[in-house]
Every structure is written in structure tokens, then in C-alpha cells.
């Protein structure tokens, strides 16, 4: 990633945008919805993969940041009727602030302590919705109505519009993060990750670098939360359980920690595998108690297999394959990425 120049990143983003646009028109409405879902995960996972892969911090609480973004979106749209673009910006800003607050605490913690603190956040925060049922709607949640703009015509499929919006946000986030990773800030993250003392001696402000990483990852999660609210139409605590936070981390690890294409692979996997596993389980007429647990089991098996075959995640595998076919630039990237 860090060897790619800005024009190459932009070209890749444009090419992806064209592919997504074609797919969204060719595929059925449900696939469009899945494209939106994948894009939402990509947005959240991209932030997390930078946090964990580049700055070396772990977070089991990014589901909570998604909740903050989602509730901000719901409240603004319900009470103030703001346009979605404005809501998106504010949702990102509010979560960035929350990320800064958590980041200040997180910058002092390492390893299991940091995991524990962020786990606490992931478990506890969504329950605030129960404390003020009048504001957050408790278990029932808040409804969000987000429709396609009028100029597209009344018959324009809503799911296609959702796929477009989510993919656009995801791609913009990916381009910005790719730039950030290559910038001075990204280099500082890597320095801090590899050796804190050496980084500090070289003049890197370790605490600032760590807080920055947290803010970036929280902002991405907040944007993803805002998109999730708009696409599913409901913001409820049941959607932001600890399972979500773990799913995000899973996607980051399985795709290849610290790599943005890895965030895309990971998101594809966690959205599509359960659906296909369900289809397989239901189409083979498996016996009763087995069928309903197969998707969950299959998901686990796929995760374990990918990790065994590609210890550096799917993106690591992709690079290895490209290397086999003599694509030297890929090889160079792999070598330069070093410890990753």
C-alpha cells in the first residue's frame, strides 16, 4: 500500500466505482442491499485495520463507535430532518470526538489492558439506550427513513441508491486512508508500532500518534454506523452487540491486518459467507437441529481455514499469488511492508 502513489490509488478507486455501478445495475435488489452492507463493513473495517495494523493498537469497541454514529444519525434525521450528507458529516465528527476521548485513555494502555478497556466500551455503551428510553427508544430503537432523491424518479430501486451511497462513502474513506497511511502520520504510526522507545527518541510524539489513530478508526466506525442506520432503517441496541465489534476485528484480521484491500476481502467474507452457508444448509434438506447451526459453524471453519492457509490474511495470500506469477511490484510491496 505504502508504495502506491496517489494517482494509482485514485485509478483503483475509480475502477472499483465503475465495477460497483455496473454490478448494482446488473444484479437483483437483494444483491444491491448486500453491496451496501459490504461497503458499510469496509468503511468500519478500514479504520480498524489501520488502528491495529499500522499503529499496533487493538479495539474491541468499534461496534460502540458505530452505535454512536448510528444514534447521531437517527436523532438528527428524526428531530431536525437534516439532509443525509450533513448528517453523515456530523455523525463522523461526533464519533471522532468520542474516539478522541477514548483514545486519550487508550494511549496509556497496552495489549490485554487496551483490549479489556475497549471491550468494556463495546459491551456497555449500547446499553445507554436503556437508560434514557425517551431519547433513544430503548430496546425498540429509533426508526430512520431515508429514501432515494426525487430526481432519480419514483421507480428507481431504493437498494441501488443505498449501494451507491455506501460504496461512494467507502471508496472516499479508502482513498483518504491510503493517503494518510503514506503520509508522515502513517509513518509515525508504524514507528510507534515497531518500537515505541525508538520512535520517541526520533522525535515522534507517541501519545499523539496513538490518539490520532484512535480518532481515525472511530470516525470510520461512526460513518459506517450512520450508513447502517440509513440502510437498515432502524437503530436499536440489539444491532450493536459485542458480536459486531468482534466481527469487525475478524474482518480486519482475516483480510490482512494493516492493508486496505484486506479490509475489502474481510468485509466480503463476513457478509457473504453466512448467506451462502444458509443457502447451502437449506437447499440440502439437512436434518432439523443441524441446519440452523450450520451457517455459524461454516463461518467459523472458513475463518480458521483462511488463517491456516494465509497467516497474513487474504491480502497476504493475494500478494503471494501475484508474486508467484512474477508480478514484481507486488513482491516489492510485500518485502517493503516488512513486519506486516
Amino acid at each position: 500500500m505504502n508504495t502506491r502513489s496517489t494517482p494509482r490509488v485514485l485509478a483503483a478507486a475509480l475502477a472499483t466505482a465503475v465495477v460497483v455501478a455496473i454490478l448494482s445495475i446488473k444484479l437483483n435488489a437483494f444483491r444491491d442491499f448486500q453491496i451496501a452492507e459490504i461497503a458499510i463493513y469496509v468503511t468500519a473495517v478500514a479504520g480498524l485495520t489501520l488502528l491495529t495494523g499500522l499503529s499496533g493498537q487493538i479495539s474491541l469497541g468499534n461496534g460502540a463507535f458505530m452505535a454512536i454514529g448510528a444514534y447521531t444519525t437517527a436523532l438528527l434525521m428524526l428531530h431536525l430532518n437534516w439532509p443525509f450528507l450533513g448528517v453523515l458529516v456530523i455523525a463522523g465528527a461526533v464519533t471522532a470526538l468520542a474516539g478522541a476521548v477514548v483514545g486519550v485513555a487508550a494511549a496509556r494502555l497496552h495489549g490485554p489492558y487496551l483490549a479489556g478497556a475497549t471491550l468494556l466500551l463495546g459491551v456497555a455503551l449500547p446499553n445507554i439506550a436503556f437508560a434514557w428510553p425517551g431519547v433513544f427508544g430503548a430496546d425498540q430503537g429509533l426508526n430512520v427513513v431515508y429514501t432515494a432523491p426525487g430526481f432519480l424518479g419514483v421507480n428507481f430501486p431504493l437498494t441501488r441508491w443505498q449501494a451507491w451511497v455506501c460504496s461512494a462513502v467507502a471508496l472516499i474513506v479508502l482513498v483518504l486512508l491510503a493517503n494518510l497511511g503514506r503520509s508522515r502520520i502513517g509513518r509515525n504510526w508504524r514507528a510507534v508500532r515497531d518500537n515505541e522507545v525508538a520512535a520517541a527518541l526520533a522525535g515522534v510524539n507517541v501519545a499523539v500518534a496513538r490518539v490520532r489513530a484512535f480518532v481515525v478508526s472511530a470516525t470510520c466506525a461512526g460513518l459506517a454506523g450512520a450508513l447502517l442506520a440509513a440502510v437498515t432503517g432502524l437503530v436499536a441496541p440489539g444491532a450493536f452487540t459485542i458480536t459486531l465489534s468482534i466481527a469487525l476485528l475478524t474482518a480486519a484480521v482475516i483480510g490482512g491486518l494493516g492493508t486496505l484491500p484486506g479490509a475489502v476481502w474481510g468485509s466480503l467474507l463476513i457478509v457473504l459467507v453466512p448467506t451462502y452457508a444458509t443457502d447451502v444448509a437449506t437447499s440440502h434438506g439437512l436434518s432439523s437441529s443441524v441446519a440452523s447451526n450450520i451457517p455459524v459453524a461454516a463461518y467459523g471453519v472458513v475463518l480458521i481455514l483462511v488463517m491456516l492457509v494465509f497467516p497474513q490474511g487474504i491480502q497476504g495470500g493475494v500478494r503471494w499469488l501475484l508474486g508467484l506469477f512474477g508480478m514484481t511490484s507486488a513482491k516489492k510491496t510485500q518485502m517493503k511492508e516488512g513486519t506486516q
Binding site: 437483483n28 425498540q140 430503537g141 436499536a236 440489539g238 458480536t243 475478524t250 437441529s289 497467516p311
Partner: protein, 466 residues
């Protein structure tokens, strides 16, 4: 090489932990659940047979999405895994069993019902995904018996915008009865406001002047129930109001507060696990109020089993039947204990033939009962129904099926059951006390004795076509 090994261990650990965390949330109650009920054991041919009434005049056409000349495909979202799975995961297989019975006996005007229910793990995000799959990709005719208040709220607007019949939601939230916002959505079970009023009425009559405490789930279920109770029980009589969230099993502070307030009667709008915890915590504190428990939290088989299991974890041995003895509750459908009831007999026969591996309990009766109502509605919708025909058929009213009181359905009312009887748990079964009472969900609506007769299950086991 060294590098890749170093990385491999933590990476595998993270993934394995994630897989475990997901797996740990799966159902483990030995409930059987299959995701589709397509063809039946006894009838192989898919050619249309004549309808039970023998009036198959018009040719069967693909009159709506999800309907072919030979099949009607419907979908649902159900908690087959996750925290709500124990007990509730039995409902959809029971419905599928009843549909299999109908399919084996002529189907609906010759069409067979294909019931595709997908697991949402009781997570609203997953619900919105699986329901879109059912509607946008699988083209189901209707969504049937989607389970849960927060989960179904995630898709109610979507279903109504798409004009998909959204029938007989498996939740007693009064929110489904909203014909302006949700014209396609219909409730089915007794709503919690009506239930609260009927339980409150019993307390007002039989425990006048006694101190009453509330114990309720901190969501729509508990709050609607409390709303109904407050419509009837004088405010001055209520000495303590304690709520719980289903994710926190430490309810000792709530029980202590109820005891400290001197509650002589405790009304619980709780799910079975928390009814059991309430009982055990009370025992521990030497607190023995009269317990009044809502229907969903009082199934004696589920509750007795939970009490024994929880006590065992704490190193004690208790008898579930002894502890549930005397609990006051309400019932609105057929019950497992009433073995002479024609509905219980029918549903037991269907259960034993098509779903024998599941325990025969209140969840199974629920699943079969709601499937019966759906078959009734489909017969009424006509031979080649559109989606609107089904909604119109229900708006025109439906017979009460296995319910003890009529269904409320009309063009302006989409609530389901309107009444219930008070029952007392005696030796593990609910014994009816007094008459069936009917009411409405308003603050002032009277609670009256139902004077009509209960319906009997048809001999064929299949509703007759009108």
C-alpha cells in the same frame, strides 16, 4: 519463516476467539429447527389436487409473486440461534409441521405451502438483511409470524413500503395495530396492554387493599404490560416498580426493593428465565408474595425446567412443579395441560407426526395455532389471490381458531386476540379460573365477560374454505 510463525499464533487466537464468541451464542436447547418445510413425507406429486371443499373451478394461476399454480412461498425471520433461541426456536418448526399436515391433505386449493424461515439471531441488523433476501431475492408472497419486537420493527416500514403482507407478527407489541402507518401488518397474539388490564382486573378484585409490586422487562413488552396494569389497579396500591434488562441476570437489588416495600402481590411481565430468577431470588430472601405472571413468562414446562436448571447451578435441588404451584397467569390459546381440548388434540397429533423430536409445549401450540390462522386467511383470500386479497381477507375478520376470545381484525383494527382467562398453575398445568374476559387496549375500555362460545377444531384438522 520465523516471522510468519510469530504472527500466526495470535492471529489464529483472535479468529478462534471470534468463532467461539459467535458459536457461544447459538441455541443449545435441543430444539429442532429446519429452515424449510417444502414437500411432505406422504405426498410426492406436486400436481394440484382438488380443494377440500371440492370447488376447484377456476384454473390455478401465478396470481402474485410467491404464488405458482402448485405452491405458495412465504418467509419469516426467527431466532434459531442466539439469546432468544431457547424455546422460541421451536415455533417455526411447529408452524412448518402444521403446513406439512395441510400440504399432505390437499393443500390450499391444491397449492402447497413452502415455508422458508431464516435465522436472524434476534439481531435487528440481521433481520433487515434476511427479510430483504426473502422479499427481494426469494420473492415470497408474504412475511409470516416474524418474531420479536425490535427485530420486526427493523423491517415493518420496508415491508409496508413494498406492499408485502406482514401477517401475524410474533410479538404482543401494540405497535402492530397501526393501520395508518402499517396497513399491511397484523398482530396475532394478545397484546400486552390488554393482558395487563385483564391481570390488573383480577388483582383489583381479589387482592383489594393489598400492596402490589411490579417486576417488568425494560422494553416495549414490559412497559405495555405495566400500562395495562396501571389502567386498572389504583395507583395508591402500587408500592414498588422494578425493571430489569434481559442482559443482566443480577436482579437481587430489584427483588430486595420489592421486599423492602412490603409488596404482598408481585406482578411480573418477564420472559421465562427472569420469572425463574425472580422466584429463586425471592426464596433466598425469605420473601413469598403471591406471584402474578404474564402468559409469555409462565409456560409451566419451560419455567419448571429453568427453575430446576438454575437451582442445580447453585448446588440446590428443587422441584419445578412445587415452585410454580399457585402462580397466577392468563391464557388465550389452547394449553398443553387441557388434554380434552379439541385444539390441543389436533396440534398434538400434528406434532407427533411431523415434529416429534421437539418437546410438546406452549411454543409448539403457538406455532401450530398461528399457522392454522394463516391457512384460514389464505382460504378466505380466494383461489388465485393477489397480495392485496390476503390483506382484504384478514381485514374482513377471521374466526378465532384455537383462541378463547375473538380476533379483532377489521379494516381499522389490526390487533389479534382480544381476551384471555385467568389461570392458576396447579401441578405443572394451567387451570382456568373463572370466565374468559375481553377488553380493548384503551385506558377506559371496559373489561367484560365473553359470552360467545369457544370454537372447536374441525374434524379434518384443516379450516374450511368459505
Amino acid at each position: 519463516m520465523k516471522r510468519s510463525i510469530r504472527l500466526r499464533v495470535p492471529a489464529i487466537a483472535v479468529v478462534a476467539a471470534a468463532a467461539l464468541a459467535v458459536g457461544a451464542c447459538s441455541s443449545g436447547s435441543g430444539s429442532s429447527s429446519s429452515s424449510t418445510a417444502t414437500s411432505t413425507p406422504s405426498s410426492g406429486a406436486s400436481s394440484p389436487t382438488s380443494s377440500p371443499s371440492g370447488s376447484a373451478s377456476a384454473a390455478l394461476t401465478a396470481s402474485a409473486p410467491g404464488i405458482t399454480p402448485t405452491t405458495i412461498t412465504i418467509g419469516s425471520h426467527q431466532p434459531l440461534t442466539g439469546p432468544a433461541a431457547p424455546g422460541y426456536s421451536e415455533i417455526a418448526p411447529a408452524s412448518a409441521a402444521y403446513f406439512a399436515y395441510v400440504n399432505a391433505h390437499g393443500g390450499i386449493y391444491g397449492r402447497k405451502i413452502v415455508y422458508k424461515y431464516l435465522d436472524d439471531g434476534y439481531n435487528p441488523t440481521t433481520t433487515s438483511s434476511v427479510v430483504r433476501q426473502l422479499v427481494l431475492q426469494d420473492n415470497v408472497y408474504a412475511i409470516f409470524n416474524g418474531l420479536g419486537t425490535p427485530t420486526h420493527l427493523a423491517v415493518a416500514s420496508f415491508l409496508n413500503a413494498q406492499k408485502i403482507p406482514d401477517v401475524f407478527v410474533a410479538s404482543g407489541c401494540n405497535c402492530w395495530n397501526n393501520t395508518a402507518q402499517y396497513p399491511e401488518t397484523f398482530g396475532w397474539q394478545l397484546d400486552y396492554v390488554r393482558e395487563g388490564k385483564i391481570l390488573g382486573n383480577y388483582i383489583k378484585q381479589h387482592f383489594a387493599g393489598k400492596k402490589v409490586g411490579y417486576f417488568f422487562q425494560d422494553d416495549e413488552f414490559g412497559m405495555d404490560g405495566v400500562k395495562g396494569l396501571d389502567y386498572v389497579i389504583p395507583k395508591s396500591q402500587v408500592v414498588s416498580r422494578q425493571s430489569y434488562v434481559p442482559t443482566n441476570i443480577n436482579i437481587a437489588p430489584a427483588v430486595t426493593a420489592l421486599k423492602a416495600a412490603g409488596a404482598q402481590v408481585v406482578v411480573a411481565f418477564s420472559i421465562p428465565a427472569f420469572t425463574a430468577l425472580l422466584k429463586l431470588n425471592s426464596l433466598k430472601l425469605g420473601f413469598s408474595p403471591t406471584l402474578v405472571v404474564s402468559n409469555v413468562g409462565s409456560d409451566p414446562i419451560t419455567l419448571g425446567g429453568l427453575l430446576e436448571a438454575f437451582a442445580k447451578q447453585g448446588g440446590a435441588t428443587v422441584s419445578g412443579n412445587a415452585l410454580t404451584q399457585g402462580i397466577i397467569t392468563d391464557g388465550y390459546g389452547s394449553s398443553v395441560g387441557d388434554t380434552t381440548n379439541s385444539w390441543t388434540k389436533l396440534f398434538k397429533m400434528v406434532h407427533d407426526t411431523y415434529d416429534a423430536k421437539a418437546p410438546f409445549d406452549g411454543n409448539v401450540l403457538y406455532g401450530e395455532g398461528v399457522a392454522y390462522t394463516f391457512v384460514q386467511a389464505m382460504f378466505k383470500a380466494g383461489q388465485n389471490p393477489t397480495r392485496q386479497d390476503l390483506v382484504n381477507a384478514i381485514n374482513g375478520g377471521l374466526p378465532q381458531g384455537d383462541f378463547v376470545a375473538p380476533l379483532a381484525y377489521s379494516a381499522t383494527d389490526h390487533a389479534g386476540a382480544t381476551g384471555a382467562y385467568i389461570g392458576v398453575i396447579t401441578n405443572g398445568v394451567i387451570k382456568q379460573q373463572g370466565p374468559v374476559l375481553v377488553t380493548d387496549p384503551t385506558a377506559t375500555g371496559a373489561i367484560t365477560t365473553y359470552t360467545g362460545t369457544e370454537s372447536q377444531a374441525p374434524a379434518s384438522g384443516i379450516p374450511s374454505s368459505p
